[in-house]
């Protein structure tokens, strides 16, 4: 439909950077403009550090992380004249330091066939779209992908996944709306094993982490899978919407507890003042961030790189 499929090959590294920069531009330009304002011909003092902290809070870094980063920028540099470029560089370096442990790619282990990826998240975080993008990525890599329409709750979720299945040439296992999700997932896993599928991606209904009943249902899905393959699911991806503020931390905590999340996908990281939450999550949880989405195109979901993200966030040109 409207998904831009113009750049597909690996040489689009540069354009990805450009899109990442573009995506985070509102955050970074807010940060850089303010930094320039803040710094111009001033000595670095407590006031500057405090303003820097507020700046970071505004970008969803959270009170603690913002305080820590701002403190680190100020440390040992009080009463020195410092250029805004330097501040940006320090800022980027500090952010990068936090993010490096999180930048680990999603490795598909060829030994386990099918490699089962369970995708979970709250409503509207972009699970189904993320699955579509992952499916297209894996099929391009020459893997046979199957999709399981485990979101039996939301009206038209099944249709949406089927459309993605058609686009990527992947079979879709679906039941009726309102059917038991765990049963469907079981069937899908059986089918995937029978058809020698490489990657089975399981969609689930969106659920708020506070709903005990729905979280229990998610647990059941995991449990049922293990009956067929004790190692499944091989990856549990939590899809997080970057617009969400500090609540993302609570989402990570609960989904980790219930479904044993192995990695994160952060969507909608573009356009507005956000992105800081990723840093807050990386500080608190040692979970890898596998992919970030900075646009609606199929190719706008890309592996996460700590340095480029930190630099893009701090507004550094390269």
């Amino acid at each position: 439909m409207n998904d831009s499929t113009t750049q597909t090959s690996g040489d689009s590294r540069q354009s990805w950077w450009r899109r990442l920069r573009g995506g985070l531009s509102r955050t970074s330009s807010a940060i850089t403009a303010a930094i320039t304002d803040l710094i111009s011909k001033r000595k670095l003092d407590a006031g500057v550090v405090e303003e820097l902290e507020e700046l970071l809070i505004r970008a969803d870094f959270g009170v603690d992380v913002a305080g820590r980063i701002a403190g680190a920028v100020g440390e040992g540099r009080y009463d020195k004249i410092i250029s805004s470029e330097e501040v940006k560089a320090i800022l980027a370096a500090e952010i990068e330091k936090i993010l490096v442990p999180a930048a680990r790619p999603l490795v598909i282990d060829g030994a386990s066939r099918p490699f089962v990826i369970l995708v979970a998240g709250v409503n509207g975080s972009g699970k189904t779209t993320t699955i579509g993008k992952l499916a297209s990525r894996f099929s391009r890599e020459g893997r046979q992908v199957m999709l399981a329409a485990g979101d039996t709750f939301r009206a038209a979720a099944i249709e949406q996944l089927k459309i993605w299945g058609e686009r990527t040439g992947s079979p879709v296992i679906a039941g009726a709306q309102g059917a038991d999700a765990a049963g469907l997932v079981f069937r899908a896993l059986e089918a995937a094993r029978a058809q020698a599928i490489d990657v089975l991606i399981v969609d689930t209904a969106g659920r708020l982490q506070t709903k005990a009943g729905l979280m229990g249902e998610l647990q059941k899905i995991v449990r049922v899978m293990k009956k067929l393959d004790p190692a499944a699911p091989h990856a549990v991806l939590l899809v997080l919407d970057a617009t969400i503020g500090q609540n993302a931390l609570s989402q990570v905590r609960e989904f980790l507890k219930v479904a044993g999340v192995t990695g994160l996908v952060m969507t909608k990281l573009d356009g507005t003042a956000r992105g800081g939450i990723l840093v807050a999550i990386a500080t608190e949880y040692r979970l890898p961030v596998h992919f970030i989405g900075i646009g609606e195109g199929v190719d706008d979901l890309a592996p996460f790189g700590a340095r480029e993200f930190a630099q893009a966030l701090a507004g550094i040109e390269r």
Partner: protein, 520 residues
């Protein structure tokens, strides 16, 4: 959604209220903590700043009213300030325009526009008796239009037939035309969202607005939104022009900062809040009550209203009548249990009770969940009609059968029967008294109940000097100080950890509920 914030604030304010006198340093310390609590609740920084400035201004050199500690004054100031920021009045959707009244929903992708459209349509259709037509203008997301059609069927509201290849503006025109021809009262337009605030979306929304000239333009926004909420609300207001805001996912554990921020930045009222996935989970927004909830004061009016709206009045009257006569059998009990489930279960009810925010961890520890209600209904369902009518005939072998049928233990059945007997006795004892229908009903539910006890009301009054006049008056039919609900729960919070522990003889409440006192 406000629990986390209210936890923090009531902690801060608790410490303050105990002080006799308040120095400038005290106010500063409190202001810093309030600032942090608000920021962690995702209230936008600018809004926090204004809030804190005003708080300081008012709190320093505060006009201390006699018999009120300065700390209490600060509580009052924070409370007033919260209400002021949230907007003082409740603004419902305005339908005061020639039919069909166009209502347009805008918002980002994933904010819940389509679900909200169905919820609003359902409310207009069922509660306000307006013939409503829904139309999806989302030509971008796969299956978006089908989603609305499916939801429309679920809530019994017509949707505009899908014609592929039309632009949103064309669909909007077609919808208005269909609305006129079909004699509809309201036409709901669900626009396409984007993942970001982009130009194309704004232009599209502005064009649709120009074409349909909607009477209401509602921004549907996720209450979990972070610092970006202000930009979002401001951008939509400037480009499209809003008349109000609908907050979704208020049932999550987000902290409600977005509500404060968006209202403060746009000055547009929050009209409705979405409180769950079910299509009836849509409520009016009451700023004063939400401010109370943020402060951890509970939301008593919401509870009463919800009870009144959910409970089938006729059925309740019948039950009340039977109870008055002292005939209260297991069928009646089952009906009540089901009513409670409808009202959002124990969790839903308790979230609205005063003081609960502070003790919710203990509740979680006691494993108090709606399974109890469900299981008890299951037990009753496994009984024969005769057994339900005359529980006395349930002896060992029948109990065994019921236990096997409902997957419960015999002890659980005994506990249920004991609870029922206690309630029936209570009903009989109260039978003679003359009361309004709601009172009977409330007691019947063990819910009248939701009201705090006399001491607690006194405590509330003490805690909120000056704000009492605004405090909702209980409906006259309600008993002044009915037994707390459920069972031991409604008592002073301090008695809670023991959930169902100390037995209060004669209470119709749920104190005797199996599972309550038992750690599972």
């Amino acid at each position: 959604m406000f629990e986390a914030l209210s936890d923090k604030l009531s902690g801060i304010l608790d410490r303050l209220t105990r002080r006799g006198a308040l120095t400038g340093a005290d106010v500063d310390a409190a202001a810093r903590e309030v600032r942090r609590a608000l920021l962690e609740a995702d209230v936008a920084l600018d809004v926090v700043r204004t809030f804190i400035d005003k708080l300081r201004q008012r709190a320093v050199g505060v006009e201390v009213v006699k018999s009120v500690t300065p700390g209490q004054m600060v509580v009052k100031i924070v409370h007033d300030q919260l209400i002021e920021t949230l907007g003082a009045t409740t603004d419902p959707i305005d339908l005061n325009a020639p039919a069909p009244v166009p209502i347009m929903l805008v918002g980002l992708q994933g904010s819940g526009k389509t679900t909200t459209a169905a919820k609003i349509a359902r409310r207009l259709n069922e509660q306000m008796r307006r013939k409503t037509l829904m139309a999806s203008l989302d030509v971008r997301r796969p299956a978006a239009m089908e989603q609305l059609a499916v939801l429309g069927r679920q809530v019994g509201v017509n949707t505009l037939p899908i014609v592929t290849g039309q632009t949103p503006v064309q669909i909007a025109r077609r919808a208005m035309e269909a609305g006129r021809l079909g004699g509809y009262d309201v036409v709901l337009l669900d626009t396409a969202g984007r993942t970001t605030l982009d130009e194309a979306m704004m232009t599209e929304a502005a064009e649709v607005k120009a074409a349909a000239s909607p009477h209401e333009v509602l921004l549907v926004a996720d209450s979990l939104t972070g610092q970006d909420a202000v930009n979002l609300a401001r951008a939509f207001d400037q480009r499209v022009g809003l008349t109000g805001i609908v907050l979704t996912r208020v049932d999550g554990d987000g902290r409600g900062g977005a509500a404060l921020s968006m209202r403060a930045v746009t000055g547009k009222p929050i009209k409705l809040i979405g409180t769950g996935e079910k299509l009836d989970a849509l409520e009016d927004f009451h700023p004063a009550r939400i401010a109370d909830r943020i402060l951890g004061m509970g939301d008593i009016v919401s509870l009463v209203e919800k009870a009144a709206a959910t409970i089938d009045a006729e059925k309740a009257m019948r039950t009340a009548e039977r109870m008055r006569k002292g005939a209260f059998d297991l069928n009646d009990l089952k009906e009540q249990l089901e009513q409670m489930q409808k009202m959002g279960g124990l969790g839903g009810l308790m979230g609205m009770l005063p003081g609960i925010a502070r003790i919710k961890n203990q509740i979680a520890a006691a494993n108090l969940d709606d399974k109890i209600l469900k299981r008890q209904v299951a037990i009753i369902q496994s009984m024969t009609t005769e057994e339900r009518r005359r529980p006395d005939i349930l002896k060992a072998s029948r109990k065994k059968r019921v236990a096997a049928g409902s997957g419960a233990k015999v002890e659980e059945i005994n506990r249920l029967l004991k609870m029922h007997r206690g309630m029936a006795d209570m009903m009989k004892a109260m039978g003679g008294a003359k009361r309004g229908p709601l009172a009977g009903l409330a007691n019947a539910l063990g819910m009248g109940a939701g009201m705090p006890s006399a001491e607690e009301m006194a405590k509330l009054a003490e805690k909120m000097p000056g704000s009492l006049p605004n405090r909702p008056q209980l409906p006259s039919g309600m008993p002044a100080a009915p037994p707390p609900f459920p069972g031991a729960l409604g008592g002073p919070p301090s008695s809670l950890p023991g959930l169902g522990g100390p037995k209060r003889p004669g209470l119709p409440g749920l104190g005797g509920f199996p599972g309550f006192g038992k750690k599972k």
